[in-house]
């Protein structure tokens, strides 16, 4: 893995959220969500970001995806700055799937409408649209009938599959998965994880996998970075990091994994 080329590098990323208060809603303080976080993702690798809740995992995902601007720090894509990127430039390279599949699909638009607009933005002609949508749905294990339906007609697992299909429509190089399993049933989790592994292979994806579930991380990720209070406390290949953690916080996270006695 160490020989592969670098896809994305973040240097010194910081983000603080203001706390407003008082009569005139002026800033009375701030929460430092990320402090000086640096990371590298190589092409084709799966980098897991783990940590307890409130450690800055989702903030990092939102900064990389472009939903939030960082206060400080830079992101470099393939050695070039991402600063001048337009929305569509970003969309063609980076896509994201969200934690809650009940919130990430627009309840008022049919699946067809939501997939078709992305397929169109990805450059499909009107004639190709439908076929491309059906192919995307097929690749996540759903039939083309889904196109005429609305999100409320699907289960959580099915919705997450649709959200994944939408993310793949742009043929991104990097897929950010922000706790894509944690809102799902345990059995469904296994299916979606299998799907992600399979898609990673077929689409040659690089994945930034955000999770607090170390068992999942163990089976999916190549490398792990551990966040605590917005800062990186430990980083390394998944095998060594999970088998002999050096930082106390990583050990605490490992101990927190519930184990079912054999």
């Amino acid at each position: 893995m160490s020989q592969t080329s670098l896809l994305l590098e973040g240097r010194g990323l910081s983000k603080a959220f203001p706390i407003e208060g008082g009569v005139f809603r002026h800033q009375v303080g701030s929460v430092q969500a990320l402090r000086d976080v640096s990371f590298r993702i190589s092409k084709g690798e799966t980098l897991a970001v783990v940590g307890g809740s409130g450690c800055g995992k989702s903030t990092l995902a939102r900064i990389i995806s472009g939903l939030l601007p960082p206060d400080a720090g830079t992101l470099q894509w393939d050695g070039q700055s991402m600063a001048g990127w337009r929305r569509l430039d970003r969309a063609r390279r980076i896509q994201m799937i969200f934690q809650d599949p009940f919130a990430s699909l627009n309840p008022k638009l049919s699946i067809g409408t939501q997939l078709r607009e992305v397929v169109r933005l990805a450059g499909a002609t009107a004639a190709e649209e439908r076929g491309r949508c059906e192919q995307l749905l097929k690749s996540v294990g759903l039939s083309g009938d889904a196109l005429s339906h609305y999100p409320f007609q699907f289960s959580g697992g099915q919705r997450q599959r649709i959200a994944i299909a939408r993310a793949l429509a742009m043929k991104p190089a990097l897929l950010i998965a922000d706790e894509p399993l944690s809102a799902l049933d345990v059995t469904i989790q296994a299916h979606i994880l299998e799907l992600l592994k399979e898609l990673k292979k077929t689409y040659a994806l690089t994945v930034l996998f955000i999770s607090h579930d170390l068992a999942v991380v163990d089976s999916f990720a190549d490398r792990v970075i551990v966040l605590q209070n917005g800062g990186v406390v430990e980083e390394g290949p998944v095998d060594t990091l999970l088998s002999c953690p050096r930082h106390a916080h990583t050990r605490a996270l490992l101990d927190a994994v519930p184990r079912i006695p054999d």
């Binding site: 994201m96 809650d100 607009e117 429509a169």
Partner: protein
Amino acid sequence: MLSLYLERFKRNRLAAAGLAIIVLLTLGAALAPALCPQDPTAQNLTQRLQGPSAQHWMGTDDLGRDVFSRLLTGTRVSLSVGFVAVGIALGVGTCLGLLAGFFGGRTDTFIMRWVDIMLSIPTLFLILAVLAFLGPNIYNVMIIIGLTSWPGLTRMVRGECLSVREREYVHAARLSGVSTPRLLFVHILPNVIAPILVSATLGVGGAILTESALSFLGLGVQPPMPSWGNILTIGKDYLHIAWWLSVFPACAILITVLAFNLLGEGLRDVLDPRT
């Protein structure tokens, strides 16, 4: 989704009644020239101030004109003023509200302070002043009512937009590269439309009331063209000898506004996801 709403709507009898009245009134207004038993502007001074009878169902006015025909023709004025004024308010209010809620910052501050200013002006007096300046006619009435009734709507749409723009599906669409106008009108608007519809329906009733008040004061629809408001103006002079001149147009206003309010309240119940 739609069938669920229809099912709920059918169970809401008051709203259905309101809708039925509105449909009837709209049909009546559309077909008024054919339905009028007599020419609403034809004077007949030998038959002035006659009470309701088989020939004149709602009596005649001080110039011997048939009140029923005049009321029916007035329906066209009331409904068209109501719909057009609310249409204008809806367009302006929704667009400004979406812009304020979506972009925030200075855009938001600018639009909302403007809303505050508009809300602090006594609307009826503003309308009176503008109409006195521009001259009273039905088109000016429609436009000026429309242009003074958007601020409440803007405030509401902004509030809804503020919450909807932070939903994950909006983030997801943005990350998919969807353009900002499409984000606003295709992704956000359908999710804020329910309260807009309710308030627009209630707004039609309000606009009809304002038009009646303006016509009553002589600044709306000008005689001999009939409107509910100017029939009432004549009625007030003859209240002690010809009750039908006041009671029928007043009832028409009451029933129409009530119908729109019932429909609006009904829509609120039907479209509210919490019920």
